[in-house]
């Protein structure tokens, strides 16, 4: 029973973290039709930034968090302005370039901070809540809460602001969006900043509880793509739903079996969904 | 003798009924027109006939054989070949290759063709392509890339590709759109020649003048239903056709 509850809480946190990463990826795919393979590295940069500004420079966790969002958002803007915008000619171009960015960011992190990473980010919420014999670290509850706040904020942003409408409009119908006077370039730029910033936020949130390494983005991006496919590419609601389903599924199987079995089962779940509904849980049906 | 028949075909998209209980019989050796105002369901019906959509209810028969839920390619091999609105071609390939592509699936061949082309196949293909180039009056353009042709030439090439698949029923989706008057006249001649050769033609078309001139039978659709069907003369005189097509004056 206790184990079950612990596993449920762990699932909730895993869901929260992966939802934050995946939403950004889905967002950028929806608006720009780019599969950003470097998204996991933005998460990694977020964790490093949280360490560098928060711990190394001594700014504290809050400063580290803000810095993580800002640094990753700036990298996102850079990618849009200097790379994606110049790559209209070959539709596969952005994909290759994101892999290039991935390699550069990994190498830069390894070079700047070393591979033998023992970087520690201290959570402002040390210790654990103890309820009925179950210990739940405060920071994990904080991650869940922060993810709900961030995703809620994102929903509010997308539903109630002009920017949000414009962003969704661009994702749904580019020409019609232009006819409303929406600048696709400006929206792409902001979407990229938002997407990258969310990844950075996720990195900063997870920094105190995961191991920070230059390669920490790799398993994340694989999970993220599985989740995106599960949810149906381009659908934010689908992405969040799928993040919760997948992470819970994965956490339970790794708790009750082991994580290799969980990986295999997760992949089979994705394949199963694709076979039954080739456009993902909430994707639009398409003709083959 | 109907070569193509639709029985009680209905297609719904979500709550919207695009095609509503349509019955259609196409007699062999005729040119059968399918007209109606924009949004009347012509294109949906066309897609149902060619297998791009499967009807919600109802059946489609080709030569008496039911093909309701078979694939487009299956129907094409059975002799039901369509063309497209706009210019759906193999744009980077030459005109001659475009036509040759039309016979890739339907010409006979063996697994040996997977590794090299047999002399016989190549010879037969070149012969057929030559005939079609002449027929479509594209001989001089045989080595031009399809994307460089004029709009009218592209439409004709689309038909030539379809003919290369040796159809018994040729479905044309708005073939006259965007053609000059002289191009239209030439295409009318072509279609008449196609009918002469025994191929049935079904066409969806907006250009009433040409449809009236060309078709043996015309079916008029409005709001997804058959409004009326008959000879051009019948359709022309039908009062509801006029109001449907011209719109009601406000």
């Amino acid at each position: 029973m206790q184990f079950l509850i612990e596993t449920l809480i762990n699932s909730a946190m895993a869901s929260a973290a992966s939802a934050l990463v995946v939403v950004g990826l889905a967002l950028i795919f929806g608006v720009m039709r780019i599969e950003n393979f470097a998204h996991g590295e933005l998460y990694m940069v977020g964790a490093y930034a949280a360490w560098y500004f928060g711990t190394s420079l001594g700014g504290g966790y809050a400063v580290g968090f803000v810095a993580a969002v800002m640094v990753t958002a700036m990298i996102g803007v850079f990618m849009e302005v200097f790379l994606f915008r110049r790559l209209k000619e070959n539709p596969m171009g952005p994909l290759i370039v994101t892999i290039g960015v991935l390699l550069v960011l990994q190498t830069a992190a390894a070079w700047l901070f070393g591979v033998n990473s023992n970087l520690l980010v201290d959570s402002p919420f040390a210790g654990a809540a103890s309820i009925a014999g179950i210990n739940v670290p405060w920071h994990r509850l904080f991650v869940i809460g922060a993810a709900i706040v961030l995703l809620g904020g994102l929903t509010v942003l997308l539903r109630t602001t002009k920017f949000g409408w414009a962003l969704r409009a661009v994702a749904q119908d580019k020409d019609a969006a232009r006819l409303q006077g929406i600048s696709i370039g400006a929206i792409s730029l902001l979407a990229m900043a938002l997407s990258a910033g969310l990844a950075g936020a996720a990195g900063a949130l997870m920094a105190p509880i995961v191991r920070i390494s230059p390669y920490m983005g790799q398993p994340i991006i694989i999970t993220a793509f599985i989740v995106i496919i599960l949810g149906g590419i381009g659908s934010l609601e689908g992405a969040i739903l799928a993040a919760i389903i997948y992470s819970t599924f994965f956490t339970f199987i790794s708790a009750y079996f082991d994580s290799t079995v969980a990986s295999i089962a997760g992949l089979c779940l994705m394949l199963l969904v694709l076979v039954v509904k080739p456009s993902g849980l909430m994707g639009k049906a398409q003709k083959v | 003798m109907s070569v193509l028949s639709l029985k009680g075909v209905t297609k719904k998209f979500g709550g919207l009924t695009a095609v509503n209980d349509v019955n259609l019989e196409v007699r062999a050796g005729t040119i059968h027109g399918l007209i109606g105002p924009n949004g009347a369901g012509k294109t949906t019906l066309f897609s149902l006939i060619t297998g791009f959509y499967t009807p919600t209810t109802g059946t489609v028969h080709l030569d008496g054989e039911e093909v309701t839920s078979t694939s487009t390619s299956h129907r094409a091999r059975k002799g039901l070949v369509r063309t497209f609105q706009g210019t759906v071609l193999f744009p980077d390939q030459t005109v001659a290759q475009n036509i040759a592509n039309g016979m890739l699936a339907t010409a006979s061949g063996s697994w040996r063709d997977w590794f090299s082309e047999s002399q016989a196949y190549a010879k037969n293909r070149d012969h057929e392509v030559e005939k079609l180039l002449q027929f479509a009056r594209l001989t001089d353009l045989r080595n031009a890339a399809a994307r460089d042709l004029s709009h009218g030439q592209q439409r004709v090439l689309g038909i030539a590709i379809a003919l290369a698949a040796k159809p018994r029923v040729l479905l044309l989706d708005e073939p006259f759109t965007g053609m000059t008057a002289s191009e239209k006249d030439r295409l009318v001649e072509m279609l008449q020649a196609i009918r002469q050769s025994g191929t049935t033609v079904v066409l969806v078309e907006h250009d009433m003048r040409t449809v009236m001139k060309l078709c043996d039978v015309i079916t008029v659709l409005n709001f997804g239903k058959v409004l009326t069907e008959g000879t051009p003369e019948h359709v022309r005189r039908h009062p509801e056709v006029m109001s449907a097509y011209l719109g009601t004056a406000a």
Binding site: E35, I233, S263 | T94
Partner: protein, 334 residues
């Protein structure tokens, strides 16, 4: 035969001859690297068959792994000679691809890409999981073939001998792949890639021919896997992970998939770059990444365009740009 084709054959013969003198002038290190390149060329050329039908796959590397594992099991459990392993590797890889093709080919575009990743990664994890496949350690000690015909004995354990063996097999495979591309089958693939609705309209069963491409390309990937297993004597599950699938895709795109030689050129140039960057030690991946970005920014349509020979090997007409992945995902998201 057109003059272009003649020139193409000329180039091919020069290239093969150049490859053949590598062991005469270079040390084992370079010979072994050349073997690696030869195997990768076979991978790329067979990968291009799938690309010709308008899809990008992440499963190709794992299908190579199927070939390699088959060879390892044939050698370890059955003591099979090299030719038997070679055939078995191709057949088993093709069979696995045939099974996978049923669920996978229902998908298109990015869904297909991720579907292939899912299936491939699941297979790879099964290798890790099951002791029959050697678990996380895989197989080792797959000894190179040894040929003894009368007085002549050739030990293919010498890098140079094995290089010639691999080169010969790869050249034969490339010839087969090339002639398939020229054949009616190749023309059908090309129609599917260029305009698959029109292909269907004239009677081409696009799913069937995509499946054929997937299966045949898997057979060649299997052969490449067998060569890999023998060349390096060991098979480990990590060798077939996503990174390698990504690299395969990168090489193909950077080289350009319009022409037969584009992917080959991409593979040789990028692998050469990677190897020549060794002086940079741990900075190597970053420099490689910068090169990728620069190549895509300045020659977005691949190296084949840069060389300007792209019509040479392209049968009859140039192909459209590689890029159906992003193009088809556009439709998907609607």
């Amino acid at each position: 035969m057109t003059s272009n084709k003649k020139a193409g054959f000329g180039f091919a013969i020069i290239a093969i001859a150049a490859a053949a003198i590598v062991p005469l002038v270079a040390g084992d290190y370079y010979v072994s690297f050349s073997t690696e390149i030869a195997i990768m060329i076979l991978m790329l050329s067979s990968y291009r068959m799938v690309v010709l039908t308008g899809e990008w796959s992440f499963a190709h590397v794992v299908l190579q792994g199927v070939g390699a594992y088959t060879a390892a099991i044939m050698v370890k459990d059955w003591g099979a000679p090299f030719p038997v392993s070679l055939v078995a590797g191709a057949v088993v890889a093709a069979a696995v691809a045939a099974v996978l093709s049923f669920p996978l080919l229902k998908m298109r575009g990015f869904y297909f890409l991720m579907g292939t990743f899912g299936a491939a990664e699941a297979i790879r994890l099964l290798w890790r999981k099951f002791k029959y496949f050697g678990g996380t350690r895989g197989f080792s000690g797959i000894s190179a073939p040894y040929l003894e015909v009368g007085p002549i004995t050739i030990d293919f354990g010498h890098p140079a001998s094995f290089f010639y063996l691999a080169l010969a097999i790869v050249v034969v495979c490339l010839l087969v792949i090339w002639s398939m591309e020229q054949s009616r089958l190749g023309q059908i693939w090309r129609t599917i890639e260029q305009q698959d609705v029109l292909a269907q309209a004239v009677g081409i069963d696009t799913r069937r021919y995509r499946r054929i491409a997937f299966i045949i390309s898997a057979a060649f990937a299997g052969i490449a896997g067998v060569l890999l297993a023998y060349a390096f004597g060991s098979v480990t599950p990590n060798r077939f992970n996503l990174n390698f699938a990504l690299y395969l895709m990168i090489w193909a795109i950077v080289g350009g998939t319009r022409s037969f030689y584009g992917v080959i050129l991409g593979g040789i140039i990028l692998m050469g770059f990677d190897e020549s960057l060794r002086f940079a030690d741990e900075l190597r991946p970053g420099i490689y990444g910068i090169i990728l970005i620069l190549v895509m920014l300045f020659w977005p349509r691949g190296i084949e365009r840069l060389v300007g020979l792209d019509k040479l090997f392209a049968p009859k007409a140039a192909l459209p740009d590689s890029g159906s992945l992003a193009a088809s995902t556009k439709g998907d998201a609607r």
